[in-house]
Symmetry: D2
């Protein structure tokens, strides 16, 4: 497991943002790497599949895929194998992101495949019930993000602190070893501090860091919230 126990986790999802594709994916990663240097945080970034190798080769940040398909090697044109992202340097993958929902059967199969390959799994969910269900599949992380708050101005930690608190409790009831992230609107050091205080082990974020002029400064602001 590439994520050290007990260290807060910050995952930055590059989505398909124009500023985070190709060479710019690497530029952003280097800026984030500098901002996190020396801080007690596990920073991970999630570029597109086509950018994984470029980012993993030229930086030392932990790299995750945004999605892998549940299928085993064989047929599957247009899919992304867990084996392929591993060879491209990814140490795990987001699973079931709000922009790439999967069937329950595929979430389960994906988590199992990632586990078998020694890769970390971060299953995204939309509410407490789905968090509890996802945790029952025994992934490494569950990341709860209320869809209506994603990309918004108000952090989930302010807009709906109860979903963070309840998700952390529900997930750990279902699987004691799971870690819980929260996301949606998270931007500031205060938001990160609030997330940790509500019982989360870290945050999953995107636009706050990746659609701004200075991603490094945005991350530095956020990391002010580390304990």
């Amino acid at each position: 497991m590439p994520f050290a126990a007990g260290t807060p986790v910050v995952i930055v999802n590059y989505k398909a943002y124009p500023g985070c594709v190709g060479k710019r994916a690497l530029d952003v990663t280097k800026a984030l790497e500098r901002a996190a240097a020396g801080k007690r945080v596990t920073l991970a970034v999630a570029p597109q599949a086509a950018d994984l190798l470029r980012v993993s080769q030229a930086s030392s940040v932990l790299v995750l895929a945004q999605h892998v398909d549940a299928l085993a090697p064989g047929n599957g044109t247009g899919s992304t194998l867990a084996e392929a992202v591993a060879e491209a340097g990814a140490r795990g993958s987001l699973v079931n992101h709000a922009e790439r929902r999967l069937t329950l059967a595929d979430i389960d199969a994906t988590v199992s495949r990632l586990r078998a390959l020694g890769l970390a799994s971060v299953v995204c969910t939309n509410n407490v019930a789905a968090t509890r269900a996802a945790a029952a599949l025994r992934p490494d992380f569950v990341a709860v993000e209320p869809p209506e708050l994603i990309g918004g101005k108000v952090s989930v930690t302010s807009a709906d602190p109860e979903i963070v608190r309840s998700s952390a409790v529900a997930a750990k009831e279902a699987h004691a070893q799971v870690r819980v992230l929260c996301g949606a609107g998270v931007k500031t050091g205060d938001d990160l501090a609030a997330a940790l205080k509500l019982g989360a082990d870290g945050i999953l974020l995107a636009s706050a860091v990746t659609t701004v002029a200075d991603p490094g400064a945005a991350l530095a602001e956020l990391l002010r919230g580390l304990p």
Copy 2:
């Protein structure tokens, strides 16, 4: 357009085959490159998104993506942007492969996005009617593959020569500039020769070359069929 006019085209789809992932994608590509050297053929290979950069950086073979999403840069976690595959060295993409069927609206949008970026589009279809419809969207290539023959022992050029002939006619009626490929079961030089004789501009293939012990030898056998 990276495909020279008037030259037969051979596209090798690496699918998610275990022998064509990661470092092995590059090994296979180098073997295919050697087999095609000096032959009057445009060879293209289609690795997974995560392998595009590795293959394009270290070989001079034309590289295609297996799939790109129709969406423009922005949200779209887990998707593959045309911009991203282009930066990773792809010169075009398969679209609507039998293992990754798309909606009509997305095929249209994908072909348009590829065109706008100067990338080649190869739209896969399953019969003459779908070939006619796909050609009406004005992609660079349509590749007809009867699903029941894919991965099989008998080449489409023997099992159903009429679908190749009729697809070539129908496609060009719908869009005079489109080129037509055929695939499914294609293995030998005779199969390639038959495809060209039936009016196809080349072939799309996978298992015959990528699941054998010696991909280079398999491609060399196939290229015997060049005029």
Copy 3:
């Protein structure tokens, strides 16, 4: 073919509107039937699958399904067979509506299955290129609806008359017998008159008639536009 040649066509899609489900589907249908009585128009309504029998049994309006699956009888839990909607009184089906996009292969298979059962096919499309492609599959109708105008205040016939005119031309070039509908924002008699004048054979509409207090009056207003 249940649609008489040369008669303008008006199809009302009930979607999943609360006012058009269950018993209310029948009430709305009866109101529309009265409004169209004696007019030179072929009126058809498209309720949900679960409401087809109720509506077809108790009214004489032409009934269409909103969707049928491409599959043949056999497995397919949760799908809707063309045979099932036919037994429930439907005389055809919408195919590939903006809210239920299908793969190209499934559009083709669905059109073929409907044709084999003597049912009418109305393939929805989003632009001129997709209209041309859909017409190449030889359905009975293509219905072009620019997605950005669906449910809007301005009729496609005012906002983008060229898409109607060009779709009518492109569709008939691809398949001379196809009829062309347009939709999106269509509300008034003037809109219907404009559609017919632009070369359409009729209109496909929903909210203008089905989300108002008096659907019959709304349809009567619309039918003022008949020649």
Copy 4:
């Protein structure tokens, strides 16, 4: 809740079987009704959406939908509202059948919508982990069916009794009130008896009853296994 506590449950899924569509759906239902008359069992049948009204109007068997969409009334052409199946006489729905897998978010939303409307939810799963996850969403039933055994000759109760036993335990750990069904290959009275003995509350079946010449006799044989 239409399922009486403590009574074994047998749900017959009509899928898209040719012998269970339209008028034949009603014929089969009447035969099953006669076979179950006077037995201590809750029999339910799951016809296609288009057949719900026909079956519910003319029989007194409990009727379930095969699928409902998660969406609330509004847009959603081609979908099946929970409200619509309720008005057509369904008392609940299968959810996430192997032939209609849903995203985790949609399973959760569908179970919630069914519950809000007083309808029973039967969530299908493929293994113990997915059963535990599904039960965490608090549906009325979870029905575990190993996909490789569906439609096969050997009953899950013989081929993999452990999946039945473990699913029953895991589901009730996750949600004490949930009832657990098993399915796949179930055909005989002995299979039903074994299922109940392994901790299941009943069975979900299809082909054994619906693709045979005499569905009533097939069900009668099965009900021999009731305690």
